[in-house]
């Protein structure tokens, strides 16, 4: 799994916890991966939309203008499950070398 895949896994996992608007998705990921710029995370989020793993809708946001909310699709759920398996396998493989 590359860093890009890890970011995708985190993005899908985050959206699996509920619909979120752009800034809400990008901020925790940037906090978790400080060497990655938000534009790179946004590009991945957009890529997930193109692959139909996520979709969006407009909804009122916090008294200001409408915001674009992202949600995970059923294809996205399946992809998330697949990536979780890959992550677990990788984690176990690394753990077998004694890496904590």
């Amino acid at each position: 799994m590359l860093k890009k895949d890890l970011l995708e896994l985190c993005l899908l996992q985050l959206l699996d916890g509920g619909d979120k608007y752009g800034y809400e998705v990008l901020t925790p990921l940037r906090a978790a991966f400080p060497d990655t710029q938000e534009s790179a995370i946004y590009a991945l989020l957009r890529g997930l939309g193109k692959e139909k793993y996520t979709e969006w809708y407009m909804a009122p946001g916090g008294g200001g203008p409408d915001r674009k909310y992202y949600r995970i699709t059923s294809a996205g759920q399946a992809r998330l499950e697949e990536m979780r398996d890959q992550w677990r396998n990788m984690r176990d493989a690394i753990a077998s070398f004694g890496v904590e």
Binding site: Y23, L26, Q37, S39, Y42, A43, K68
Partner: protein
């Protein structure tokens, strides 16, 4: 380590918008710009850390770019821009270092125009996008190029129709001055038409594909003038009568002009 430069929210969005409009296929830029507007104008966002958090605007646009389709566009743009460069050079210098053994030099600008029209119309009809009502600037630019082209064509008609009569009359000096004026007008109008076609191409990519009409018309005027320029340079006036010169030129210039005008109309539709 290089310090990221500081940009205001407006500057950031402006630079980002320009970059995505140039790089992304139609419809996609507006979507990306709307998303970035939301991200950039978040109340929680610290403006001084904009570049640090989001990355350089051009870099951000690069991350969204489909490299394959962007490279295809760059190739098309390079061909069209090179054609404009040739037309501008030919009209300004009245000289070409390209020599093809199987064709007369005065046809080179017409071939360049043919390639430019076919490629640009094909590309923008497939990949371009209309955007709202017809821009006023486009109407004005088309009117200026069209009027300038018509004035020069009228000057050419006038001069070529008068040559033989004037050569034996007492008005030789006036004719020389008129001819010099027409040649100067050809040089500047031809070159400037080719130069004006370039922004037409860029604006057609970035904002509205109907700006291509400016490119098509600019190329047509430049090619027609290039055709006359090279023809004038290669003929021997001793063996031509006025009517021969005028009828030879305009029997070819009129169809070229009609093709250019049809192309302009197609670009506007």
């Amino acid at each position: 380590m290089k310090q990221p430069k500081s940009l205001t929210r407006e500057q950031y969005l402006k630079q980002f918008s320009r970059a995505v409009r140039w790089r992304l296929p139609p419809r996609e830029p507006e979507d990306a710009i709307a998303d970035y507007r939301e991200l950039v104008f978040q109340p929680e966002r610290d403006e001084s850390k904009l570049v640090e958090e989001l990355g350089e605007p051009v870099q951000a646009a690069h991350l969204l770019t489909d490299v394959k389709s962007y490279r295809r566009w760059l190739k098309v743009f390079a061909v069209l821009a090179f054609g404009l460069f040739l037309l501008a050079k030919w009209d300004y210098m009245a000289w070409s270092n390209v020599r093809l053994s199987f064709a007369e030099q005065w046809w080179y600008p017409v071939w360049t125009m043919a390639v430019g029209l076919a490629l640009s119309l094909y590309w923008f009809r497939r990949h371009g996008q209309k955007n709202g009502p017809l821009p006023k600037g486009l109407v004005l630019a088309i009117a200026v190029v069209l009027i300038a082209g018509c004035v020069v064509m009228y000057g050419i008609w006038d001069v070529t129709g008068a040559v033989m009569y004037e050569q034996v009359s007492e008005h030789t000096l006036r004719l020389r001055q008129q001819t010099r004026l027409v040649i100067t007008a050809m040089m500047y109008v031809g070159t400037l038409s080719a130069v004006a076609a370039l922004p037409g191409l860029v604006l057609a990519k970035c904002y509205d594909r109907r700006w291509l009409a400016l490119y098509v018309l600019g190329v047509t005027v430049a090619a027609m003038i290039g055709f006359v320029t090279f023809y004038f340079k290669s003929i021997d006036l001793d063996y031509l009568t006025a009517n021969m010169l005028q009828s030879y030129l305009f029997a070819r210039l009129i169809p070229i002009g009609i093709v250019g005008l049809i192309g302009t109309g197609v670009a506007l539709c």
